[in-house]
């Protein structure tokens, strides 16, 4: 299945892109986050996850379907 990933703010800078697509076997959100973040130090960046534009609870187990979009949203501080 194909999943679109969108990154914002500092996360777009860390991943050096604001959007990518990945072809994956059946996967849930937690495992997908593990996969995309391996090799990166994201400990200092808080972020929320949205599936198809809806922000999910970090404790929620969410399975992904073909065509889903996952967005990683950090808070911004500047003003």
């Amino acid at each position: 299945m194909t999943i679109t990933l969108k990154y914002f703010g500092q996360l777009a800078e860390v991943f050096e892109t604001s959007e990518e697509t990945r072809d994956l076997e059946n996967i849930n959100v937690t495992d997908l986050i593990k996969e995309i973040s391996s090799g990166y130090d994201l400990d200092h960046i808080p972020y929320q996850i949205a599936v198809n534009q809806r922000i999910i609870d970090c404790n929620e187990q969410v399975n992904l379907n073909d065509g889903d979009t996952l967005a990683l949203l950090p808070p911004f501080a500047g003003g």
Binding site: I45, A50, Q53, R54, I55, P75, F76, A77, G78, G79
Partner: protein, 343 residues
């Protein structure tokens, strides 16, 4: 003809909407890039009373984006300079200025005077403070923030809707404009989206961004909206507020060898507690005598407070901070550690 004729003829506003604007009291927290963008438009719309709180003075590095200030403003309080500009724009607007920072100690008193709170600050900790105060005072918050060319806008605590803690439950500081860089047009643009939400909240028109986070990228002109809901975990009580915000104003630090040259140490233990510590600049004031002896100290000096474990030091530092001492640090190490370093 009324100055507001061109907006009064909008069916969504009319005479009754204009009266709502005239009756509205808005607090703008932060007179930086966002504040400078939204303030003249809020004033222009006919809002009756606007409070502005910011303890910063104008710095030359602000001028490229904080358009209420001129080179003559440098070194002066932002709130005073903003007020001067806004009164020229509309002499009949009522502007309250607070040349201080919003803290756990002053937040309730200030926030409860207003109907809508505008979060235009540049620190995550201030955003939690605004959120928690506004929730306890039952006021809606119009939020915006910037990271480089991207902006976020949302409305919290609107008609019992979700809050900043529902959106971002994990607190951690992230870079602000001074650290990450910012372009004036970007912060100005996001500030105007924020101003528009303020007006929508006052008038009760359109779809207010409650439970919705707008992410706008000013380089790609791409806007996306994310939905979020109220979470039970983010319940805010008076007790939670005090734990989160009342003690954070006091600096805490471990002991280091630079501190004895930078300020005066205050040992708040009883005089018979061992080991005793010796510094050139050391005062011994047992914590129970602190209140009575505090007036012998200088509020503008730097003080490092320590005790046997760090607990009394924190409490003493809080007492001094509450009494107006701004440069107080509670040492988290106990006397044993300090004495060992010292010898």
């Amino acid at each position: 003809m009324s100055n507001y004729q061109r907006q009064i003829i909008l069916p969504e506003i009319g005479e009754s909407g204009q009266k709502k604007l005239a009756d509205a009291r808005i607090l703008v927290v932060g007179a930086g890039g966002l504040g400078c963008a939204l303030l003249p438009y809020l004033v222009g719309s006919g809002i009756g009373r606007i409070g502005i709180i910011d303890g910063d003075r104008v710095d030359p590095s602000n001028l490229h984006r904080q358009i209420l200030y001129t080179p003559d403003s440098v070194g002066k309080y932002k709130v005073d300079e903003a007020k001067q500009f806004l009164l020229m724009q509309r002499p009949d607007v009522m502007i309250d200025t607070y040349s201080t920072y919003l803290t756990g100690l002053n937040a309730h008193k200030i926030v409860e005077e207003y109907d809508v709170i505008v979060d235009a600050t540049d620190r995550i900790s201030s955003r939690y403070l605004i959120n928690d105060t506004a929730v306890l005072c039952n006021k809606p918050i119009v939020y915006a923030s910037i990271h480089r060319f991207e902006g976020q806008v949302s409305v919290f605590n609107y008609k019992n809707g979700p809050t900043y803690r529902c959106l971002f439950p994990k607190a951690a500081e992230v870079p602000n404009c001074a650290e990450a860089g910012v372009l004036g047009t970007c912060v100005g643009f996001i500030g105007l989206i924020q101003a528009q939400e303020v007006i929508k909240v006052i008038l009760g028109i359109g779809d207010v961004l409650s439970g919705k986070l707008i992410m706008y990228n000013t380089l790609t002109a791409n806007q996306q909206c994310f939905e979020f809901t109220k979470t039970e975990r983010a319940e805010i009580s008076q007790d939670f507020f005090e734990k989160s915000h009342m003690r954070q104003d006091v600096n805490t630090a471990g002991f280091n060898n630079n501190q004895p040259d930078a300020g005066t140490f205050i040992d708040v233990r009883e005089l018979d507690e061992l080991p005793r510590v010796n510094f050139n600049q050391l005062i011994e004031i047992p914590i129970l005598e602190l209140n009575q002896k505090m007036n012998q100290l200088n509020k503008f000096e730097t003080y490092y407070i320590f005790c046997q474990s760090g607990k009394r030091a924190l409490s003493a530092a809080q007492q001094m901070y509450d009494a107006g001492f701004n440069y107080v640090t509670a040492i988290t190490d106990g006397a044993e550690v300090i004495a060992n370093h010292n010898n």
